[in-house]
């Protein structure tokens, strides 16, 4: 079976349409979505309606959660102060235009989805707000995949796609307790994978093209896809809606400097 996995559409209807056409052309059998349907972009309602009308299984993203729960006091919704100021404006705008039934739908989204040996999350299995960066320690990354009880963990949230193979891991543990003999144990894990599917509507890999991933469940082949679309249309709509112009600027470049987390593994305890 050929899966298409998309994430972080962020109210960008143009980009979603382009990606859906590409998925059609690639003849994928099933689409999964890893959340962040809303936020930053000008068409949050239209994006949600499209995802719903296609019955695409979807996880709740960090932006979806914030629209449902309200912005929490924990500053961890934003990786930096600059990101926070902009994020707040976008949150308030999105919050004011979102339809009640769209909000209700976002509230029903699950944190994780499973399909056999595959697990789908927005940020990480422990939080929608955790960034699984490709530079994260390999053992910590492996822990995330194993905690999801999966062979392949699909995530988004960083807006930069990558595939990470974690191979031939070996770990030993030696417990010493008072009045007990030592008990050395060995653990080995042959192969696990993290697949970050990038972002449809707010890419940050250095080009303005939308990104998503194809996965063949028979061959375990991962394909990172990059899809050009008419981003100028979305940029114009961002400006027309009175959203921060920086969102249009960075959308046209596919880059972002303020969104790098100080502590990417921070887990919010809300």
């Amino acid at each position: 079976m050929k899966l298409a996995v998309i994430s972080c559409i962020h109210g960008n209807y143009e980009a979603l349409n382009a990606v859906l056409s590409d998925i059609d052309a690639q003849k994928a059998d099933q689409i999964y979505c890893l959340g962040d349907l809303v936020g930053y972009g000008p068409y949050p309602n239209a994006v949600v309606e499209m995802i719903r009308s296609l019955d695409i299984p979807t996880c709740q993203g960090c932006w979806d959660e914030d629209i449902v729960e309200g912005l929490n006091a924990c500053e961890c919704s934003y990786p930096s102060q600059l990101a926070e100021t902009r994020g707040r404006l976008a949150h308030e705008w999105t919050n004011s235009v979102i339809h009640p039934e769209v909000r209700e739908y976002l509230a029903t989204l699950p944190m994780t989805l499973k399909l056999d040996n595959l697990c789908f999350v927005h940020g990480s299995p422990s939080s929608q707000h955790e960034y699984l960066l490709p530079s994260m320690d390999g053992f910590a990354a492996l822990e995330r995949v194993l905690s999801a009880d999966a062979d392949v963990l699909f995530c988004g949230h960083t807006h930069v796609p990558y595939v990470r193979d974690l191979e031939d891991a070996a770990l030993s543990v030696n417990v010493q307790q008072p009045d007990q003999t030592e008990s050395p144990k060995q653990f080995q894990v042959a192969l696990r994978q993290i697949v970050n599917v990038g972002s449809v509507g707010e890419p940050r890999h250095g080009r303005p093209n939308a990104t998503y991933v194809l996965y063949d469940t028979d061959t375990a082949q991962v394909t990172l896809r990059e899809v050009p679309y008419d981003y100028a249309k979305t940029c114009l709509a961002i400006l027309e809606q009175g959203l921060p112009p920086i969102f249009a600027w960075r959308l046209a470049r596919g880059m972002e400097f303020a969104e790098r987390a100080d502590d990417p593994t921070h887990v919010c305890e809300r």
Partner: protein
């Protein structure tokens, strides 16, 4: 010479804490620093008395360095001082009676003092904390999956992680021997990296007040890297004296 005494889980049990202090005074290698890794308060003792004892050590005594534990977080929750109001964890485990007792047994001033405490201490290549950097409620034991212990050590950014949540005394050496990581981006495949690391360990430091009559705590010499788990019998069981476990 630095010689640390590390303890947790007094849980309002003043007699247990006094017994541990006495055991510390008896050590041949004098204790230089005292760390208290949370759970100062609990349901079955005199919480305010223990807090006062920690706040004002006698002139010849160590000034304890205290951090926040599970019980303190429950207390903050009851007082609306953290992100989850009404202490759902406390309610689930100890019911309405537990909530009432904790609410009544910690004065406002004590709550304010507890709130000023740290979440943990980074000293040398050690992290001293109640649970882990993931959460105050994170309970690490010898039975915790190896990869999870490894993850907590990586996140702790330390070679030695001292924690008190489980109340057990144990020493768990974790060796992340090898792991080959290969990242592929839109620009192509990057060189594989071996993520193997030197051995590091999680240390369970015991519990002073949880078991009546028997306190456990840990002595650590960062220079020699030597650990000494202490078991102190007190009260009725006192006749047996302190035993080295």
């Amino acid at each position: 010479m630095t010689h640390w005494a590390i303890l947790s889980g007094i849980e309002g049990n003043l007699a247990a804490y006094e017994a541990v202090l006495q055991d510390m005074r008896r050590q041949r290698h004098p204790v230089s620093d005292l760390y208290v890794l949370g759970d100062v308060i609990g349901l079955h003792g005199d919480n305010d008395a223990v807090i006062q004892r920690l706040q004002s050590p006698r002139s010849s005594e160590w000034v304890p360095q205290v951090c926040i534990g599970w019980w303190e977080e429950q207390c903050f929750s009851l007082h609306g001082l953290n992100s989850s109001p009404d202490a759902p964890e406390l309610m689930a485990q100890f019911g309405g009676d537990g909530v009432k007792r904790l609410w009544e047994s910690v004065s406002r001033e004590s709550v304010r003092w507890l709130r000023s405490l740290h979440f943990g201490f980074h000293e040398l290549d050690c992290l001293l904390i109640h649970g882990s950097t993931v959460s105050y409620a994170d309970e690490l034991t010898p039975d915790t999956p190896a990869i999870q212990l490894c993850d907590r050590l990586v996140r702790a950014d330390a070679n030695h992680l001292f924690c008190g949540r489980s109340g057990q005394t144990f020493e768990c050496w974790v060796t992340p021997t090898r792991l080959r990581s290969t990242v592929t981006t839109l620009d192509g495949v990057q060189d594989p990296q071996d993520q193997g690391k030197t051995p590091r360990r999680v240390v369970g430091i015991g519990s002073v007040g949880r078991i009546p009559g028997q306190a456990t705590y840990t002595l650590y010499n960062p220079e020699s890297d030597r650990l000494n788990f202490r078991t102190v019998n007190y009260g009725k069981a006192k006749g047996f004296g302190a035993t080295i476990a």
